[in-house]
Symmetry: C2
Subunit: 361 residues, 2 copies
């Protein structure tokens, strides 16, 4: 606390990211990182950018392209969009922050699920955006009717699909009904986990000028360490994000991040193979957890959300942590008996299952 702080600083409730343990070999299943490294082409692209035309590292002394034109063109082509339908930011968290300020701050409260990405209320407080949370049903599913403007007038809607931390996916037809039912406000579909088993709403962009879809390279493209995220939508929405971005930081993506992300999108075979491996491991881990008595929410993400009817989740998490196995526990209403477990390699999942067996078996 300080008299030099702006009023808003006193009212903030900062987001708390998952722990980054400083251990040599943790089994780290707490922040939904990909268990596999990025495509080898990513490393080649970074090394080439780093070397510069003459091998001197010359490129780093120069500002990056503030518009990330090459990267946006690559990603637009990948998704069948035009570059002016693509915004890129310093991780999808920055993209979401700009979207709250640029597109969700209106006269009415915005809506998001009560169980959802816990950064949303933080953004709302930062930009003084009023919000109401809408309860998921008892199976942790979004009820689209609760979000339709005719039922709940709103200043915007945002939700992850698949949802976090549940992993539950809303079918695309239901996503479309939600978008179509809010013609006068922006609907943001946060698809951080879409590549692990859901259908993207990108296919709806040309029909709905109020739709913004947010993606990240941190999960399915194994680039959490490089901080690159995207928004896709009507050019008018993208322009709003660019106006905020150009009033905040002209150059949010460094040269190596731009090169890395473009290379990751270019290697479609590697991307598809990696996603398939994670999905297969999810199936396998789910079966193992169920065999130990866990109830597992059906997941279309690179994590599962599980509870044990006879053991306290915080207690399980603490016992795992003592063995340098990290999962995520949220001390929040309705979900404080669940654990969110990222899908690791099969070997990491086996280590986890063995430890859980000793705890709950």
């Amino acid at each position: 606390m300080s008299r030099f702080w702006s009023d808003i600083v006193h009212r903030l409730v900062p987001y708390v990211p998952g722990e980054q343990p400083a251990l040599a070999h943790p089994v780290k299943l707490n922040t939904n990182e990909n268990p596999y490294p990025p495509s080898p082409r990513v490393l080649d692209a970074i090394r080439a950018e780093l070397a510069g035309a003459d091998g001197s590292g010359e490129s780093l002394r120069r500002y990056p392209d503030p518009l990330a034109k090459a990267l946006r063109a690559t990603v637009a082509a990948h998704h069948g969009l035009r570059p002016d339908q693509v915004f890129v930011g310093n991780g999808s968290d920055e993209v979401l922050a700009h979207a709250f300020q640029a597109l969700l701050k209106h006269d009415k409260p915005i809506l998001f699920p009560d169980i959802s990405y816990s950064f949303y209320p933080t953004y709302a407080r930062l930009y003084e955006v009023e919000f109401n949370t809408v309860p998921l049903d008892d199976r942790f599913e979004i009820r689209v009717d609760d979000y339709l403007a005719q039922n709940t007038p709103n200043g915007g809607v945002i939700f992850p699909n698949p949802n976090a931390p549940t992993g539950h996916v809303l079918p695309l037809a239901e996503v479309e009904r939600l978008i179509a039912g809010n013609p006068d406000s922006v609907v943001i579909v946060d698809e951080a986990y879409v590549d692990f088993g859901a259908q993207s709403a990108i296919a709806l962009i040309d029909r709905y000028p109020n739709l913004l879809v947010v993606h990240t390279t941190s999960k399915s493209r194994s680039l959490a360490g490089m901080r690159v995220g995207f928004a896709f939508g009507h050019a008018d929405l993208i322009q709003a994000l660019n106006r905020v971005k150009d009033s905040f930081n002209s150059y949010p993506l460094d040269r190596l991040a731009q090169a890395a992300a473009a290379a990751a999108y270019a290697d479609v075979d590697y991307f598809e193979a990696t996603c398939a491996r994670v999905i297969a491991s999810r199936t396998r881990l789910t079966a193992s957890l169920e065999a130990l008595g866990f109830e597992v929410v059906p997941s279309a993400a690179n994590f599962v959300f599980a509870k044990h009817p006879a053991h306290d989740a915080a207690d399980i998490s603490a016992k795992l942590r003592a063995q340098e196995i990290f999962v995520r526990h949220f001390n929040a209403p309705r979900i404080n008996q669940h654990l969110r477990i990222s899908i690791g390699t099969d070997a990491e999942c086996d280590t986890l299952v063995a430890a859980l067996k000793a705890i709950v078996g």
Copy 2:
């Protein structure tokens, strides 16, 4: 324009960065980049981080340290500070943006010079911070008396030192008088160019809890391409910035940027030699420009600000541009007859001088 835009988006006046020409070999003296590449140790550090422990590129799949502890410790030690007196952001532009929101938004208008970094009014509009500009004197110098709270009650003060785009430096004793004369508001000294010939206000931090000093690696450490900036000040001020940062983006610096910046600070010899070369080239370029009849503002930065009494600045800039020589011209009151010329290599400066000789000679 779109009905989906928040009110604030309509009112923004985005900053326009200097052009990044897509040419193979431009003489690029328009964005104050360093003419020399970063220390070879920077490239080594990036390659080591990229390889990861096992050479697989493993590190990139993991989130970076959200607190950048290793980098902050290195930079704190370099400046004789504690890590809790150091904030790091995605370029000094992001640091400044957070500072406007966290520390300059109060009941009274903030003050900055009428001729100054043109991003300041943009930030102010983004966060709805009222501001008044204070005219520099006829020699483009800051008059400290104009900024003292007893003369001009204010909600904060920000100014670059050396100033941009003039290059003029305010002596440290005058900087201190300005800080001491505003005990109830935050004074931000934006020292992007300090390493090219000015004394840093970092020396004053332990005496003034209202002082924030902002630095960048983009100029003197040749890392414009990597986007790393800092704020130094009392731990209370740093905490305010962290609260905003953690409500905006947990991981603003990617792994390679953190490694690069730490290595750049570790190589003091390279840093000092590079700054000395730029300073020597500035002296040489200033003499050449004066020989052509230009009036050059005394500069302590890696650029000079010059006007020719007989030739229109926009016209000179256009003629240079036609030869793929880029300098910066601001079409703004009081300075529209000046050119801001970044210090290049001596060879680049010679090319510029030869072209200018043909234009004004």
